[in-house]
Symmetry: C3
C-alpha cells in the first residue's frame, strides 16, 4: 500500500521519467510517515488499439488507478485535498506535457494485507516508525 | 469512470472488434447521461501460460473487471439489472463466439476521482450535462 | 471470483511454476466448497524499469492483488487467518525463493458479478455445490 497502476501509451515515459514519477508519488506518502517500501508503482504500456476513451482509440491518455490500504480518512475536506494534491503532483508528468489524465483511488481493507509474511504494524505505531526508518519489514 | 479492464487470449480481438466493444460499453453509460470520455476500456492480452482458470491454463476465457465511480445504486433490482444488461452487451463479444466470460464490478468512492486536474461535477448537474455535450472536461 | 493478479519480474516463473501457484491458490478456495473455475489467476510480467518499490526499480518483488467476491467475512479472527494462510501458501513461491512479496485483498459486491451470463448461485446453495461438482456454470 499504496499501489499505483499507471496505464500509458507506449514510449510516453523514459525509465528516468518513470523513476521520477515513482519518487514523487513516494514522497507524497513518506510525508505522512509511511515507509518508502509501502509505495509500489507499476507502469503498463497500452497500445492505442487497446486503449479506448469512449469509443475512440487514445494515443495521449494516462489512466491511473490507486489502491489505498494503510491510511483511510472519512473527513471530506481531507479526501478532497488528497485528490487535489495528487492532481498537482501528476500535472508535470501528464497535463503539462499535453497528456490527458484521469485517476481514481480505491480503498481496501487494512486487515487483509501482508508484506513478506507479516501483517503490517498499526498506523502511527512504534513498529511502523521503525519500518519507515529501516525501510524494510521486520518482525515486531 | 467507469474503467473496464478486458483480459483476453492473444489474437481474440482485432482492433475493429475492440473498438466495437468499447463503443457498446460506452453506449451503455451515455444512455444514463454520462459523458463519453468518462468510459475508459483497456484490453490486455494474456497468454495461456499466464492465464489460469482453476489450475488449468486457459485459451478461451475473457475475464473482465469493471470499476464504477460516478454512479452507484443501492437498489437491489437495479443492481441485478445492471449485471444482466452488461451480460447481454458482452454476449456477442464473448459467449456467442465460444469464449467463456466472467466479469465483476467494483465500486469506488466518487470523491477520490479527478479528470485533468478537476473533480468531476455532481451527478445530473448542469456541469455534467455540459461535459457530456462537449465531450471534454472544463472548469465549472 | 476470486481473481488473483500476480505482478512479477520477467522470467520469475516457468509455465510449470505458474500452474503450480494457480493450483495452490485454487486449492485454498475449493476447500471452502467453491467451484474450481471461480478461481482465475493472471500473471503479469513487469520489467524493472516499470516496477518501483518506493523510488527504486525492483528486480525481485512480487506484488499480488486479490479480489474476493463470493465469500466475505466480518469476523476479525477469520480475516486475520485468511491473510496468514495465504502468506504461508505464497512463501514457497516468493519468500523462500528470495523474492519480496506484498499482497492485499479487495472485497467487491457479490450482486455485481456474472459468469457466462448467469448470476452465480448463493453461497452454500445446492446449485453452488452442483457447479463445484461439475466444474462449470449451468442454469439453476
Amino acid at each position: 500500500m499504496p499501489l499505483w497502476h499507471v496505464y500509458h501509451p507506449p514510449g510516453t515515459y523514459t525509465p528516468q521519467q518513470k523513476q521520477q514519477l515513482a519518487a514523487d508519488i513516494t514522497g507524497f506518502y513518506t510525508r505522512f510517515g509511511l515507509p518508502k517500501f509501502y509505495v509500489v508503482t507499476l507502469f503498463h504500456e497500452v497500445d492505442a488499439s487497446s486503449f479506448y476513451v469512449g469509443d475512440e482509440p487514445s494515443r495521449n491518455a494516462v489512466r491511473i488507478v490507486v489502491e489505498h490500504i494503510a491510511r483511510h480518512t472519512d473527513e471530506p475536506v481531507l479526501r478532497k485535498r488528497t485528490g487535489e494534491v495528487l492532481a498537482e503532483l501528476l500535472a508535470p508528468h501528464t497535463k503539462d506535457r499535453g497528456l490527458y489524465c484521469e485517476f481514481h483511488i480505491d480503498e481496501t481493507p487494512r486487515d487483509l494485507w501482508m508484506i513478506d509474511g507479516i501483517a503490517p504494524p498499526p498506523s502511527h505505531s512504534e513498529a511502523e516508525r521503525r519500518w519507515a526508518e529501516e525501510n524494510r519489514p521486520t518482525p515486531y
